[in-house]
């Protein structure tokens, strides 16, 4: 069977996910509108129960968070009442920010899967790989989510405004010399225009690569294949620049005082491994439904090798970023990790276990890379780990220590998971599952390690 039919069961499942997710997101927004008095009450209760280390530490946290938020208001806090009011307002903001951030993290995570997959697809064409052409249609299916996914991220960023991006608040910028210095880059119109340029570039490559790939199926010569090669090479150049800038804009700028020069690479590693993992998962799913009979455990082995290798690459970049900042201990840099280690200890270190130790130990053995359920299990842990990675990049700047993985977060993940499944599997039905015109298809079918 070369043509995929979107089963009603799976379609129903994706709709259920979207509905439950939407309810969760709605609930998150409904419950986040707490008034000043409610937050004040909440804080006194927490202080009485000894939650979060009491008020003294919470107040100290407020000062730290103000530094990271660039709220250098410049007036002495000799008045205890003012300090109290400011702290309550700060917590109130964090509670308001939470559903927005939860939505944004989930939207970015699923967009990142599609974008990472598109980069992987381009690498396969640019390197003229012989093993992977049997998986091209799966990859093309996944990248179908890129356009809607990326637009959704940009739209959420636009409407969330200073709920996520503190530099979008004019009042804050007016009191902040550092953000003022960056306002040539960090301003809302520029942000949107840049975002649209990135998305347009990615979409164009996705559109034309799909077109050439389809045309190659029926062609008598290799002209489409050659075009695909040239487009892929050019796209990779564009991608590395645009992805890096996208990561500054869409993620790093949530902490506008802080920067890291390898941030683009770091985010890239995360998206690459997530994209590859999803290729493996969808391939295994389709195979279990009786499709993709030309894909065997040798192909799975190679995809799993990439999952293993890029997991280590991610760790390398995560650690490179962490160690230099930790070692030099410069206040304006190290505050980034101090916030994470103080308030996000479990997700911060848990993510290293899930994204590094787990895949390294489980996927090290060559035989295990060829067992589908093993790859699925490891893949799900890797995906969860990279969700937490994005979570750790956004949440500390927007909700501070008011984080939790509750209904707003899970609802957002379900919402976009449903949408992702719906878009990807719809795209898979559009063309045959074998890119039969690819000149490497025979080599790929007979590939064995």
């Amino acid at each position: 069977m070369y043509d995929y039919k979107f089963s009603n069961k799976l379609k129903m499942f994706s709709f259920i996910l979207m509905i439950i997710g939407a309810l969760g997101v709605g609930y998150g927004f409904m419950t986040s509108h707490k008034s000043f008095e409610e937050v004040e009450h909440l804080l006194t209760e927490e202080a009485h129960h000894g939650h979060g280390g009491g008020h003294g530490e919470a107040a100290a946290h407020a000062t730290v968070a103000h530094d990271t938020h660039g709220g250098d208001h410049g007036h002495a806090k000799d008045n205890a009442h003012d300090a109290h009011k400011e702290h309550v307002e700060h917590v109130q903001h964090q509670i308001h920010n939470r559903p927005w951030s939860a939505l944004y993290v989930a939207a970015f995570f699923f967009m990142m899967i599609a974008l990472g997959c598109l980069a992987f697809y381009a690498v396969q064409h640019a390197s003229q790989a012989g093993w992977s052409p049997v998986l091209f249609r799966v990859m093309e299916g996944i990248t179908a989510y890129l356009l809607p996914g990326a637009l959704i991220v940009l739209i959420i960023a636009f409407f969330a405004g200073d709920h996520i991006f503190i530099w979008m608040n004019d009042d804050v910028v007016a009191h902040d010399k550092l953000i003022q210095g960056k306002s040539g880059w960090l301003n809302k119109p520029m942000f949107i225009v840049r975002g649209l340029i990135f998305i347009a570039g990615w979409f164009l490559y996705r559109h034309f690569s799909r077109k050439f790939s389809k045309a190659q199926d029926e062609a008598n010569d290799n002209s489409n294949f050659k075009k695909l090669f040239r487009w892929s090479a050019a796209f990779l150049v564009f991608f590395l620049y645009s992805e890096s800038m996208m990561s500054w804009d869409w993620i790093m700028s949530v902490d506008p005082h802080w920067f890291s020069t390898l941030f683009g690479w770091y985010v890239f590693a995360s998206m690459f491994v997530s994209g590859i993992t999803v290729i493996a998962l969808i391939t295994i799913y389709l195979k279990s439904r009786g499709y993709l009979e030309f894909v065997n455990e040798n192909h799975l082995h190679d995809v799993a090798k990439f999952m293993f290798a890029i997991s280590i690459f991610w760790t390398y970049l995560w650690f490179s970023q962490f160690m230099l900042i930790w070692y030099s201990n410069i206040p304006e840099e190290v505050t980034y990790f101090i916030t994470r280690i103080n308030d996000y200890k479990l997700p911060f270190f848990g993510m290293v276990a899930m994204n590094f130790i787990f895949p390294v130990l489980l996927l090290m053995n060559a035989d295990y890379k060829r067992i589908p359920w093993f790859v699925v299990m490891t893949g799900l842990v890797i995906l969860a780990g990279h969700y937490i990675d994005v979570f750790n990049m956004i949440m500390p700047a927007t909700v501070g220590d008011r984080w939790s993985i509750g209904i707003p977060e899970i609802g957002s993940v379900l919402l976009f998971a449903g949408l992702f499944i719906f878009v990807v599997f719809t795209a898979l039905t559009k063309v045959p599952l074998l890119a039969k015109g690819n000149p490497f298809i025979k080599e790929s079918k007979e590939f064995h390690y």
Binding site: F322, W326, Y327, N365
Partner: protein
């Protein structure tokens, strides 16, 4: 092992060799060894050789390297002459661990790689100044040699090997190593 008779069948192409191996195996003859000028992909599977266990060794050697690195850095940098690392003197290995990760990584790789090579040499009975076991120097250039044990069935074997495309078939006395 006393001296025994073996047949040396010589081939000039790796594809011909591969199909010959499959035929000889199908006839249930025991292939002692094959000498090739370069690694032939899939030959080990066709010969029915067991998978290598060197990966397990590599993993264990890596653990040894990691242990050596941790013990060494703990003694040098924490115990013997405590160092002030990154302005955070703490006298604790764990708190200074990030700065030791590169060394831990390098020694893991170093031990795994070197000990793996040494293991491979020992397992293959290779050491400096050892006389080569190669029966025919042409196998280092462009010929492939298949060595099959003979148990009074040389006629049958010779005709089979001729069918498989061997360019030369020699019956030789093999000396025990």
């Amino acid at each position: 092992m006393e001296a025994s008779k073996v047949i040396h069948a010589i081939y000039t192409d790796d594809d011909v060799l591969m199909s010959a191996v499959k035929k000889v195996k199908a006839e249930k003859h025991h292939i002692e060894e094959i000498y090739t000028p370069f690694p032939v992909h899939g030959l080990d599977k066709a010969m029915g050789l067991q998978g290598t266990r060197i990966a397990i060794c590599a993993f264990l050697y890596g653990l040894v390297g990691l242990t050596v690195a941790i013990t060494m850095m703990n003694f040098i940098m924490i115990k013997d002459w405590p160092q002030n690392i990154g302005g955070k003197p703490s006298f604790s290995y764990l708190e200074n661990m990030p700065s030791f990760v590169p060394i831990m990584f390098e020694l893991t790789v170093f031990f795994a790689a070197h000990l793996m090579v040494i293991t491979f040499y020992l397992r293959s009975r290779m050491w400096p100044f050892k006389k080569a076991e190669n029966p025919d120097p042409r196998t280092t250039d462009d010929h492939f040699l298949m060595e099959i044990a003979v148990h009074g069935n040389e006629r049958e074997l010779e005709s089979l090997l001729e069918e498989t495309g061997a360019v030369e078939i020699n019956l030789v006395d093999k000396e025990a190593h």
